[in-house]
Symmetry: C2
Subunit: 340 residues, 2 copies
């Protein structure tokens, strides 16, 4: 069978997720019809980015530039997705959107391919990639939910600087150099100095005192698992890590599930690796997981404070499984299911 | 009334907690009878440390050195406390112990002066300072427990390098210099590289897959609040912060308690400051709280996933309120209650 080749656009090509996406398109030998069209803001026009057959120039993201494409990945924030994603779709492309713009739209599937692949079938031109913390959390939790019925989860996150974009990562790295030189540390991109600190403020605050990031974790979990009754208590915290998000989660399950059985289930789940126990005891950390497409799960243990309680710790590279890799997996999934 | 002056010993004078204790003894004008006796391991003998009336030489910690004292602070680890605390007590001193050696001993009061001051009255020569994370957690939670009855808490911690001792802090600071110079990062004191990482491993692992730090948070909470029925699910994580521990906590309370009422209760609690809400929204971070004796609480909000649920974020300098300051407060409390 000959593979249909696709004209692909990458909106947000110069960002942290865009860079990973370009690398993965090559690595995965994605069926490109010519070099991808790289789109970004006006100030990046002319920048050459490495791609399949050689460097490709960046063009400005505008309506005309979105014509004649089969597939466009958006990774340039909610505002630009709201402005341009429907233009791309109306021009005939299928959009895979990394932003939060359409995630809670009933007409837009919100997809983690290992968890709810069938959801792509109903797409109407836009498919959304979930929030990066939600993906890391659900890669560990969805298989246990299927086995034992998740009723409630209490989640605290440990989120990397690059989750706030390439400029936030540069600011954090600059703080390391400043600290070593004995200079004062400044915060301009992130709300507080991140080096030597942890900051319970990711995305903007909502009137109820939670943040939008925390709200996403609640609502997206319910949409992806297809159960509006699941309770999620979330506290999202930025930590001085370059890349890879971690979550500490306390799960309340309907049916009993031993840590041993939970490990077996997770070890058999594609895209998940179990790093737990042994002598000396092992566990995943952001440094181990950076650059990897799998979500690693460890610290799996009984929660003695509640019947049906299970504690765990999950870590994933939020630029890969939390964004670029999940987006590319969605595109590959749509090809396999003949929805692209 | 004339104040009785006390002959004071400081075991572990050269450590991170010892240094804070020496500073606080001076600042608080503690009723010292002559300079404190500074005790440490043999390799520190002769080191001069700044104290009340000028530098004081460090002596070796051994049985003889513990004679003739009224009060000895121990901050040199569980092993040395187990070896020497009873020697000091049997020699006539009252011991305030910062280690975990005696905390769960029924004959030893475990005291946070703002929470269970009356517990010191029954001491038999040794009073224990709780684990630093437990103190930060309970300073925020005990007042809410009194008002609404804590049934269960799910806690994830964000613990500073200096909580593992001065050598761990030096290792973390060395990693900042190495990273800025483009050199590889090494971990010898802590179990993993800490800079740019978060590590769910504080103290040693127990057979059930939890760590001793997590176990302490469970057991010490029950002892201090005097209620063995309280459930605590704890995950303790080391983060790249120099000093000040933070905890994210989901509380399950017997009686309803609005965030507004919780803020009022905490704002009226000595030793607690509320840093929450406002425009732009404020919250405490370890960098803000380092060097302060109060525990700061913010992100107080309803937990919509459970009736009677309340979420909060508490931060405290674990070398001060989590150790040296709480120890000195215990000594001052015993003087006031004529138990020293």
């Amino acid at each position: 069978m000959s593979v249909r080749r696709l004209r692909v656009g990458v909106a947000g090509a110069t960002g942290a997720v865009g860079a990973e996406l370009l690398r993965l398109l090559v690595e995965r030998e994605f069926p490109l019809d010519g070099p991808p069209r790289l789109l970004a803001s006006a100030r990046s026009v002319g920048t050459m980015l490495p791609c399949a057959a050689g460097p490709v120039p960046v063009e400005e993201l505008h309506d005309e530039a979105l014509r004649g494409l089969d597939l466009v990945f958006f990774s340039c924030g909610g505002e630009r997705s709201r402005r341009f994603a429907e233009v791309a779709r109306d021009g005939g492309a299928v959009v895979v959107d990394n932003s939060s713009a359409f995630r809670m739209d009933d007409a837009v599937p919100l997809v983690i391919p290992e968890i709810n692949p069938e959801a792509v079938d109903g797409h109407r031109g836009i498919v959304a990639v979930p929030n990066c913390t939600t993906i890391v959390f659900l890669m560990a939790v969805a298989p246990l939910h299927r086995a034992a019925g998740l009723e409630r989860a209490v989640v605290s996150s440990y989120q990397a600087a690059s989750g706030a974009g390439a400029a936030a990562l540069r600011e954090y790295e600059g703080q390391i150099r400043a600290a070593a030189a004995g200079k004062p540390l400044r915060a301009e991109v992130l709300p507080r100095v991140l080096l030597g600190n942890v900051v319970p403020h990711v995305d903007r605050f909502l009137p109820d005192g939670s943040t939008k990031e925390e709200r996403k974790l609640v609502e997206e979990t319910r949409k992806i698992l297809g159960d509006p009754g699941i309770g999620v208590a979330a506290t999202c915290v930025r930590v001085p890590v370059a890349r890879a998000h971690a979550v500490s989660a306390a799960l309340e399950l309907r049916d009993p599930l031993t840590p041993e059985r939970a490990r077996e289930i997770l070890a058999a789940t594609p895209g998940v690796v179990v790093v737990d126990g042994g002598d000396p005891p092992d566990y995943p950390t952001p440094l181990d997981v950076s650059g990897r497409c799998e979500v690693a799960v460890g610290r799996i243990r009984e929660d003695a404070s509640r019947p049906g309680g299970l504690l765990l710790w999950a870590v994933g590279d939020q630029l890969l499984k939390g964004a670029a890799w999940n987006a590319l997996q969605i595109a590959e999934l749509m090809i396999r299911r003949e929805r692209l």
